[in-house]
């Protein structure tokens, strides 16, 4: 088997697998509705971040609320009193995995702003998307291009 056949085999295998793959990253998003802050955590696709600690900080890094997601990866709590800045919501998914969502103060102040809630949900859907085959192919193309550049560079130096 020559190298070209092998590369074709690997590429075919990769593209076949891409159809069933899903992302591995921690995702957290939050929105405000009716005086409550709703938090949802996951790992992309349908995998929820269950029983993961959640901490809420103000801009001065003071922890103003702590909790834990439920079996659906969700956590809801009342907007804390005296919030005067954006809130940073951290989801700790263990073993070095952490995600942060910034909840703007304006959204908290106008807690029934439907448009902002819709924007947050739209952003959630974007984050949960499985990486596209296009991105994967771009990544592989960059690696091959770098190898090509290195090879040219080496040839020039040895010539």
């Amino acid at each position: 088997m020559n190298i070209k056949t092998l590369c074709c085999l690997v590429l075919t295998l990769v593209l076949t697998l891409v159809a069933t793959v899903s992302a591995h990253r921690v995702i957290v998003f939050a929105w405000v509705d009716s005086g409550m802050i709703y938090i949802e955590g996951g790992f992309g696709g349908d995998r929820k971040a269950r029983e993961c600690p959640v901490s809420v900080e103000d801009e001065n890094k003071n922890i103003i609320h702590e909790g834990k997601t439920d079996q659906k990866g969700e956590y809801v709590f009342k907007i804390p009193d005296h919030v005067t800045s954006d809130l940073l919501i951290h989801l700790h998914a263990g073993t070095g995995h952490k995600a942060t969502w910034r909840l703007p103060y304006e959204e908290i102040a106008a807690s029934e702003d439907d448009q902002k809630s819709r924007d947050a949900i739209e952003k959630k859907h974007q984050l949960e998307k499985t990486p596209s085959a296009g991105k994967i192919i771009v990544g592989i193309a960059v690696i091959v291009f770098l190898a090509f550049l290195a090879s040219r560079f080496k040839k020039k130096n040895t010539a």
Binding site: S22, R47, T95, K98, P131, I136, G139, V142
Partner: protein, 203 residues
């Protein structure tokens, strides 16, 4: 296995970046420029492997493949893994750019170690080659778990609890990676032995 942004302390991140840069420098010097295609192919495999999830009970694990990359590339695995991790961070938001150095150390250092430990066993007999592949695959995950624990410990200081959680979470990955690496090694020895270090001039 990818550490996210904002988890580790500054000194750990800087130490990781320095070690990764040193490893990358050695790796670039040791790359076999006549076989760059191998490096590119294995870097691509590593880049894609993290997307392949295996559901186990209520959770899911993903392949890493640093065992096979290290086994076949040695020190050249460091720049290969660095490139793949940069692309994963930029394109898929895995890990992060500030944690890139420490993530490279966690995944590439065990990969280089298994190269020197198990390459002498490859090609002696089909069974021994498979066993070497299994041990290399499982061993890299085990060592990566220990390095991940150390990185978190240097930040959080609760070593044994963290160590147990990480090792327990990675036992399924160790088993799967071991089997996958064992079969990959057996496959390469049969169909493309030139990729095995030390076998390049025999064909």
């Amino acid at each position: 296995m990818h550490i996210s942004e904002g988890v580790l302390s500054g000194p750990v991140l800087i130490s990781g970046a320095v070690m990764a840069a040193a490893g990358c420098g050695i790796g670039l010097k040791k790359i076999d420029y006549d076989h760059l295609v191998h490096v590119a192919m294995l870097a691509s495999a590593f880049f894609v492997a993290s997307l392949i999830h295996v559901n186990i009970g209520p959770s899911s694990v993903h392949l890493i493949l640093n065992g096979i990359v290290g086994l076949l590339l040695g020190f050249a695995a460091v720049p290969a893994i660095l490139t793949a991790l940069v692309l994963q961070a930029v394109l898929f938001q895995y890990g992060g750019l500030t944690t890139l150095g420490i993530n490279v150390v966690i995944m590439a250092a065990p990969a280089v170690a298994v190269h020197y430990l198990f390459v002498p066993l490859l090609g002696k007999s089909p069974r021994l080659s498979f066993v070497a592949g299994v041990l290399a695959g499982s061993g890299t995950i085990f060592m990566s778990s220990l390095l991940l624990t150390a990185a978190l410990w240097l930040t959080e200081k609760n070593f044994f609890e963290t160590c147990l959680v990480i090792l327990a979470a990675n036992v399924p990955v160790m088993i799967i990676e071991g089997i996958v690496t064992g079969f990959c090694v057996s496959f390469f020895i049969k169909v493309y032995p030139e990729i095995i270090p030390g076998k390049k001039n025999e064909h």
